[in-house]
């Protein structure tokens, strides 16, 4: 009897030590993926730079202050990435540009996950006519190239940071709606949903507590990759003049303004271009890593 009790407490203690939730398990698998960790490291650095941008470079005196005497200078100790056509330090502008890019990327994806996820969950859970109506509207949205849709929305609302995020967010709503709908469809018919109905849970509770947490994995993966897409779209829209307005720094806009000087001032376009490339690479690495880590079939 006493030995039984002792054994009981022992297993209890052991359990507490290795208590792992599903997410801890995912993190453990993600840590094994070197490329994903590299991407995560790059992202962490980027996020930190964006948060502490004001400490690294003063916005009013360095980032937007023109110094025409020193325009289009190559990289030097004073200006590590050189200066642009108004003599502004490119390094400082890129750091502040990271703020805009990351904010737009994350918030735009947030908007599309919330709207698309809700629509997809409703369509998948209730099915029937409601499903048909929602998904056909999504199909109409999908028929328009997303960048064109974003251009149309920004031109209608007028260029500003908020409108940019709304435009990019809305233009990628259909893809999230589709992903969420398909995973809800496969989860809806599982027995634990029936069991949840059998304990008297209402539809809202079943969707929020049982279906969405189980349908989250593919959305997270798509979201990470989607941030990269949103940053690219922001850069694209700024490039054609519909995004961030001068003198505010943004990678795509910097790329656009540097274009006329490409022949004799390569650094003006190269560094913002590299920043876009590296950020998107990092996000894709993390997204790929997450997809592998979240796939239960790859469990060892």
């Amino acid at each position: 009897m006493t030995s039984n009790v002792a054994k009981g407490t022992m297993t209890v203690e052991k359990k507490k030590n290795k208590k792992r939730s599903q997410w801890a398990e995912v993190w453990r698998r993600l840590k094994k993926n070197k490329m994903a960790m590299l991407g995560l490291a790059i992202l962490t650095i980027l996020v930190l730079t964006a948060i502490f941008a004001d400490f690294i470079a003063d916005y009013d005196n360095v980032v937007i202050k023109q110094d025409l005497v020193n325009k289009l200078q190559g990289p030097s100790a004073e200006h590590p990435f050189g200066t642009d056509e108004f003599g502004r330090d490119i390094f400082a502008r890129m750091i502040h540009g990271a703020r805009v890019s990351l904010r737009v990327g994350i918030l735009a994806v947030g908007i599309s996950i919330i709207i698309g996820g809700t629509l997809g969950a409703i369509a998948g859970y209730y099915g029937g006519k409601l499903d048909n109506v929602i998904m056909r509207v999504m199909d109409i949205f999908l028929a328009i190239p997303s960048i064109l849709l974003a251009i149309a929305i920004v031109s209608a609302l007028g260029p500003s940071l908020m409108n940019l995020m709304i435009a990019i967010g809305i233009s990628s709503v259909p893809s999230y709606a589709r992903i969420v709908r398909s995973s809800v469809l496969s989860i809806r018919d599982q027995e634990f949903i029936e069991a949840a109905k059998a304990i008297g849970a209402n539809d809202l509770r079943i969707i929020l507590k049982h279906i969405i947490p189980n349908a989250l994995a593919p959305v997270i993966v798509q979201g990470t990759l989607g941030v990269a897409g949103a940053i690219l779209s922001t850069a694209g829209l700024s490039f054609i003049g519909l995004g961030i307005q001068p003198p505010a720094p943004e990678w795509g806009a910097m790329l656009a303004t540097g274009r006329p000087y490409l022949r004799y001032a390569w650094h003006v376009t190269t560094f913002p271009g590299l920043a876009i490339m590296i950020t998107i690479l990092a996000l894709n690495l993390v997204g790929d890593g997450l997809r592998d880590a979240l796939d239960p079939r790859l469990k060892q």
Partner: protein
């Protein structure tokens, strides 16, 4: 044990209406269950046992399922005529259900404690901490250390998961527990443990139970009454003793004939010949006649009525209406 009537099902018919035809899953069954009693619902795969259970819970997927006729009275209330809101307050609270496969009936991303606490939160006026505390008590009650309350279902074995499912179903102290083949997915050794546990808890809470199974051995251990289902009908209903000592319907006899018996030496078991009829195209007359060793022409034409051959022992067979001359023997 009080002899108060808890559940009364009259002439219940449930069809699944699909494009390929109407599946007549349940055809006019009658069930009576008193408080604290256990009824064994026995039948082959596809006999309509699970559909009956889901019908009582009003969880038949609609479409394609539809309750065509009948009455389900629970504590004097007609469950088929109350609003969905009221039905939700009964599910999990007064009537709860144990599903067949414990592997899939728990949510993989919620801890077992949260899942037990959920049903308590829905039906009782308790806050989260109190519900979690009650969940721990329920875990202890089904023989799982309370310290595992924050574990996830994948950290449990099949038998342990079924214990968790039992804890969920009994958390609100229901009047009626519907167990849909609760031991089918488990090892034989674990089966006995789980059955014992259910039996003890049922006695403790004085819960009535409908045990759905195809295992007559399980029935003999747990049940007070037995109903044998075939093709959506109850062909024989009796007390446990009556059915095991004096089975009368040819189908029931067929079931007994296909179980190995330790007392008698037989070379071969006698399985029931043929297969379950296609539920979209049931035979006329007695549904069992194509497979029945005593079947005659009249069986194909006339549908048998339920005849009470002794107190509480009903059989649906033309032999007992005196229309077919045969002596039914084991």
């Amino acid at each position: 044990m009080s002899k108060k009537e808890l559940l009364k099902i009259e002439d219940l018919s449930i069809y699944y209406i699909t494009e390929d035809g109407t599946v007549k899953a349940v055809n006019g069954i009658d069930i009576k269950l008193n408080k604290g009693e256990t009824l064994g619902l026995v039948g082959e795969t596809g006999a309509g046992k699970t559909t009956t259970a889901l019908g009582i819970m009003r969880l038949i997927p609609n479409p394609p399922g539809k309750i065509m006729s009948g009455k389900i009275e629970f504590e004097g209330k007609d469950l088929l005529n109350i609003p969905e809101e009221e039905m939700r307050m009964i599910r999990g609270n007064k009537i709860s259900m144990i599903f067949q496969d414990p592997m899939t009936s728990l949510n993989p991303v919620m801890t077992v404690g949260e899942q037990i606490a959920e049903v308590i939160e829905i039906h009782q006026d308790l806050n989260k901490q109190e519900a979690m505390k009650k969940a721990e008590e329920m875990l202890e009650l089904v023989g799982i250390p309370a310290a595992r309350v924050n574990d996830y279902p994948h950290q449990f074995s099949g038998g342990m998961k079924q214990r968790v499912v039992i804890a969920i179903s009994l958390a609100c102290n229901p009047q009626l527990l519907i167990a849909d083949e609760p031991t089918t997915a488990l090892d034989v050794t674990i089966q006995a443990q789980v059955l014992d546990l259910m039996n003890n808890l049922k006695e403790e809470f004085n819960t009535a139970m409908i045990l759905i199974t195809h295992d007559l051995g399980v029935v003999s251990e747990v049940c007070d009454k037995v109903a044998i289902m075939y093709a959506g009908e109850i062909v024989e209903a009796a007390s446990l003793k009556q059915l095991f000592e004096n089975p009368r319907h040819p189908y029931t006899l067929g079931l007994f004939g296909s179980i190995p018996n330790l007392d008698e030496e037989v070379d071969r078991l006698k399985p029931i010949t043929g297969l379950m009829p296609d539920p979209t195209n049931l035979p006329t007359g007695c549904k069992f006649h194509p497979r029945c060793p005593y079947g005659t022409d009249i069986c194909a034409k006339q549908e048998p009525k339920a005849i009470e051959i002794e107190d509480g022992h009903k059989v649906k067979c033309l032999i007992y209406e005196g229309l077919v001359d045969a002596e039914v023997k084991r």
